[in-house]
């Protein structure tokens, strides 16, 4: 049994609907995210993928249950303790969430300026080095609005990596990118993870491509979840909603092979 970076224990999260009822987004969900591995959280839209990320970060509180990160229960943390916990995370947001009134350089330098006592000289060395590793040299003085979607994601990744996170969270990292760019981004993720050694959690509906990165796949469906060790296992599942999910996301080719075998 490998060590867990994040543990969900019986987590319940509901949202009130317009008609006054409650919708269970997570209905008593438990799972472990192993250290140093890549976990993909998949599921249709509105099935609680982004909510799961927000719960991990303490941006949202669950109605019940425990979310353990590094020995502390995230929903019970407040103030400084929560800030301290968050420094262990790096987050790449869906839209990259770059500060659009700052240059690429200032964006990437921001966490270093605000959270460390490093001098401007040291910051410059580190930022330029990261930008070079992510193939962004020469873009320092540009503004986010002047970048392509793929570059923006890379700047977001560069910024998230500055404080050397133990856990990287990716929210729909390839939404809005073409297939070639998507492959590039995935390759970059894999390479960076190998170099830095973080635990990675990817929320995505880019099935099946994102499965190439996954050591573990969690599929959310109607408040419940299923855990799989490999893409093959997903396709072999005999559960109806997983089969439907496979059919809609992986397409007819995978489906027909399943039928033939």
């Amino acid at each position: 049994m490998t060590e867990s970076a994040i543990q969900f224990r019986d987590v319940v999260k509901t949202f009130s609907r317009a008609d006054g009822g409650n919708q269970y987004v997570l209905d008593g969900v438990s799972f472990d995210i192993p250290v140093g591995k890549t976990t993909v959280i998949a599921g249709g839209s509105g099935q609680g993928k982004s909510v799961t990320l927000k719960l991990i970060l303490g941006l949202m509180a669950p109605d019940a249950g425990h979310i353990m990160v590094g020995g502390s229960d995230v929903p019970r943390l407040r103030g400084r303790a929560l800030e301290k916990l968050r420094t262990r995370f790096g987050v790449l947001f869906q839209g990259a969430a770059l500060f659009d009134s700052m240059t690429v350089y200032d964006n990437v330098a921001l966490p270093l300026r605000e959270r460390t006592a490093k001098s401007e000289e040291e910051i410059k060395v580190q930022v330029l080095q990261t930008l070079e590793q992510l193939e962004l040299s020469g873009a320092e003085e540009r503004y986010p609005a002047q970048l392509s979607g793929g570059m923006r994601k890379r700047v977001g990744l560069a910024r998230a990596l500055q404080l050397e996170p133990e856990i990287m969270l990716f929210d729909e990292p390839t939404t809005g990118l073409d297939p070639v760019m998507t492959q590039d981004i995935y390759r970059l993720f894999a390479r960076t993870q190998k170099r830095v050694g973080f635990t990675s959690v990817i929320v995505s509906h880019d099935i099946p491509r994102v499965l190439n990165l996954a050591d573990q796949v969690i599929i959310l469906h109607n408040g419940a979840m299923d855990i799989f060790e490999s893409p093959e296992e997903i396709q072999w599942s005999d559960k109806k909603h997983i089969q439907d999910f496979v059919k809609t996301t992986m397409g007819q080719i995978y489906q027909s092979r399943l039928v033939e075998i």
Binding site: G20, V91, A97, P111, E114
Partner: protein
């Protein structure tokens, strides 16, 4: 049908309470973050420049025209009783106690408040505020508090400027155009304006600046929580309108309350 109506009423009530609570906590956090290190002195100065220096032209023209209109209108009313000599006192008291603080706050709400609301709203919908949270950078210390400090420093100063320019406008209209005796204008002003009047104007300008910056930044910050605002760009535009309207109304309501309590 009837139950449905009651349910709706209840939900609306709960929503309003929620909203008030949210805004209350927000105000508390923004003020508490003033004492959080490291201070963002540069950003505070930038905000004073934006809210204060940036509003100079608007304040200058509003004050001058208000003062001149007051001069003309005052002359017209007072001359009916043969009391033109009281013009200086009437113009200066009206400006210092009422129009100066109120109009300055309304101008700042329209010019800087709307800009602050839109800026924060866009940051909220594009997850830039979440990103700050995730980098463990307190968005209050980083974004909100400098705006509060900027407004609290610049609005009272702008109000003082408004008073001076307005009185000058009244002087131009009353003395230079209508021919009121300059000595009685100045003497009337000096004998009737007390420290308490100036104090009242100052208290008002501080309270109004807090109201405007609180409502405008708060609406933008919570753009995703506001019911009926919609999503995306539309939500920002609606919330910005709402912020300016709400803060203007709040200024007018508090103007009455403060006058009633402090006069």
């Amino acid at each position: 049908m009837q139950l449905n109506f009651i349910g709706k009423l209840g939900r609306q009530g709960i929503y309003i309470l929620e909203d008030l609570g949210r805004m209350g906590v927000y105000l508390f956090k923004a003020i508490a973050a003033v004492f959080k290190t490291p201070f963002r002195l540069r950003e505070c100065i930038k905000q004073v420049h934006f809210i204060g220096a940036g509003s100079l032209a608007v304040i200058f023209f509003t004050a001058l025209s208000t003062g001149m209109v007051l001069g003309l209108q005052g002359y017209y009313s007072l001359s009916k009783f043969g009391a033109e000599g009281m013009l200086g006192s009437a113009v200066s008291l009206t400006l210092i106690m009422e129009l100066g603080p109120v109009l300055t706050a309304l101008m700042v709400a329209g010019r800087a408040g709307s800009a602050m609301c839109a800026e924060l709203g866009i940051m909220a919908i594009s997850e830039q505020i979440d990103a700050l949270d995730c980098m463990a950078i307190d968005p209050f210390r980083y974004l909100i508090t400098p705006k509060f400090i900027g407004a609290l420093i610049s609005v009272p100063l702008l109000t003082a400027l408004f008073d001076v320019i307005g009185i000058a406008g009244g002087y131009i209209a009353g003395v230079k155009l209508m021919g009121v005796n300059p000595g009685s204008f100045v003497e009337g002003m000096r004998s009737s304006v007390t420290n308490h009047d100036i104090y009242l104007g100052f208290v008002k300008s501080v309270v109004f600046s807090l109201l405007v910056v609180w409502i405008c930044t708060g609406r933008g910050f919570f753009v995703r929580e506001i019911r009926g605002a919609g999503f995306g760009a539309e939500s920002v535009s609606r919330v910005t309108t709402q912020a300016v309207v709400l803060s203007s109304i709040a200024v007018l309501v508090f103007d009455y309350l403060l006058t009633a309590v402090l006069l």
